[in-house]
């Protein structure tokens, strides 16, 4: 077992993945790895076969949708050396069971908001020294609000243990909402007349509305923005 692992998510920054180390994917990520001609060593999933009914109207019968993941194909990939680690026992899938209880007991925390949390905790448990995250972007609203915190917890935990965690460019992980640490203000580089000069330049010498209709918001004489009022 090497000292570096790549955790491959399904976000846009997965395109940066160099596949130069052991690679773990999640759910249907094997399709993207295939298209990128990459490598995959482990597949993690926290789902059971998802069957849900669809009501097509009172005059038509109820239908049961098929599972969203191709469990049969995943089972076939196991014969090619893929190791599948699942949170649940799935009938027809020769997967290993994720040691959730043992890891919760070992690390003293059950804060897992996403499959990535399980993967990071697993990498810490297995003693990897370097974890690279690609495609773990957390762009989606639900991911950002409800799942990002859990992944950041385990990233912090890994770094606290001395494990190097590298996050791909473009991910929202471990990034402040303003781009700066809390309370740090951006330095105004221009004079207080800059906003008016810029506005005149952009409009070709004429302001779109009267100067009185543009209210400058200043703080201590330094501009931080301007607000236009009708």
């Amino acid at each position: 077992m090497g000292s570096t692992v790549i955790i491959f998510g399904l976000g846009p920054s997965s395109a940066q993945c160099p596949f130069d180390a052991e690679t773990w994917v999640v759910n249907m990520g094997y399709w993207r790895v295939y298209k990128m001609k990459g490598r995959i060593d482990k597949l993690f999933t926290a789902h059971t076969p998802c069957k849900y009914p669809t009501l097509l109207g009172a005059t038509r019968p109820l239908q049961i949708q098929d599972a969203t993941m191709d469990w049969g194909l995943i089972d076939q990939l196991i014969d090619f050396g893929l190791e599948v680690i699942s949170l649940h026992r799935i009938q027809g899938l020769r997967s290993k069971i994720f040691p959730l209880k043992r890891i919760i007991k070992k690390f003293g925390c059950d804060y897992f908001t996403d499959s990535m949390c399980y993967m990071i905790a697993y990498a810490i448990d297995k003693g990897y020294k370097k974890i690279k995250l690609y495609g773990v972007d957390m762009y989606d609203r639900d991911e950002f609000q409800f799942e990002k915190g859990g992944i950041e917890y385990w990233i912090g935990f890994a770094r606290g243990q001395g494990i190097e965690v590298i996050i791909s460019n473009g991910s929202y992980l471990c990034r402040n909402a303003t781009g700066l640490p809390y309370g740090v203000l951006p330095k105004p580089e221009k004079s207080s007349d800059f906003m008016e000069e810029e506005l005149v330049r952009l409009t070709g010498g004429e302001l779109p509305v009267s100067k009185d209709a543009i209210q400058y918001c200043t703080k201590g004489g330094k501009p931080i923005g301007f607000r236009r009022e009708n």
């Binding site: 003293g108 935990f157 640490p181």
Partner: protein
């Protein structure tokens, strides 16, 4: 690794009493401080301004944030350090939110005031933000509590207890909670015990269980098993038949008004 326990106070929350003038409260505070026994070394309480601050037992060194000293006074508590990340700010009425004269008096009374900014007229210590960013390799600080946690790590504290750090408001939950959880994880990775007060939203999933673990029962969603049928029955059961089917000696009586779905 020892499990991190949730802080559940066995005492009733301390009632917050109305404040007297600042000078009187500061005088009362000095009297309380003179009677305090030494705190256990290596342990601190980080006190936020959320509701769970009322569960703080005040049995260790306390670090507060911004205007939290007022809540400390209401609970007849104590504070050793106050952290801020603001210069002067005005409220919607144009009034100054921070009274620097109060902070200066507290600084004269022995309370350390830390700020990431140099503020003219404020007797504060400058928080070494750049040095800490360089040392820990990240500038991911979403709010003042994150600065406090990293400062506790920097000072070599062995146990950090969080009270009042609830992260329940929309902005706190959406924008700031992640950074706190990052630093809590970092501290725990370093072997520091971090205990979070029960009632805080920190380190809690939205379902109450780890991701992927089932947290609901199909019977709660579909008590009549209609979703499991492959086709609709030719004759739907009547309302009285459905009510009879749900009757049980152990379950409560069903509601009289049935859902529109059943009355097709």
């Amino acid at each position: 690794m020892a499990s991190q326990k949730a802080l559940i106070s066995t005492k009733a929350p301390i009632e917050e009493t109305p404040l007297a003038t600042f000078e009187e409260e500061l005088n009362n505070y000095k009297i309380r401080m003179s009677k305090l026994v030494p705190f256990p070394p290596g342990e601190i309480i980080i006190l936020g301004m959320g509701k769970t601050r009322e569960l703080c037992p005040w049995d260790a060194e306390v670090w507060a944030v911004n205007m939290g000293y007022q809540q400390v006074a209401m609970q007849r508590g104590h504070v050793e350090k106050i952290f801020m990340a603001h210069t002067q700010t005005k409220d919607i009425y144009g009034r100054n939110m921070f009274k620097w004269e109060h902070f200066n008096q507290m600084a004269d009374a022995g309370i350390e005031i830390w700020n990431i900014h140099r503020v003219k007229g404020l007797k504060s210590r400058l928080f070494p933000l750049k040095r800490l960013i360089k040392k820990y390799g990240t500038d991911y600080f979403g709010n003042t509590i994150a600065y406090m946690i990293v400062w506790a790590i920097e000072l070599g504290k062995k146990r950090i207890r969080l009270y009042g750090v609830d992260m329940r408001t929309t902005e706190e939950y959406g924008w700031e909670k992640g950074s706190l959880e990052y630093w809590i994880g970092f501290a725990r990775g370093r072997g520091i015990q971090v205990d979070i007060c029960d009632g805080s939203y920190l380190l809690k999933t939205i379902t109450g269980k780890p991701y992927g673990i089932k947290y609901w029962s199909l019977k709660d969603v579909d008590p009549f098993g209609l979703l499991r049928r492959k086709k609709l029955p030719e004759e739907l059961p009547s309302s009285s038949q459905l009510i009879e089917a749900t009757k049980s000696t152990q379950s409560p009586p069903p509601p009289q008004r049935l859902s529109p779905w059943v009355q097709l």
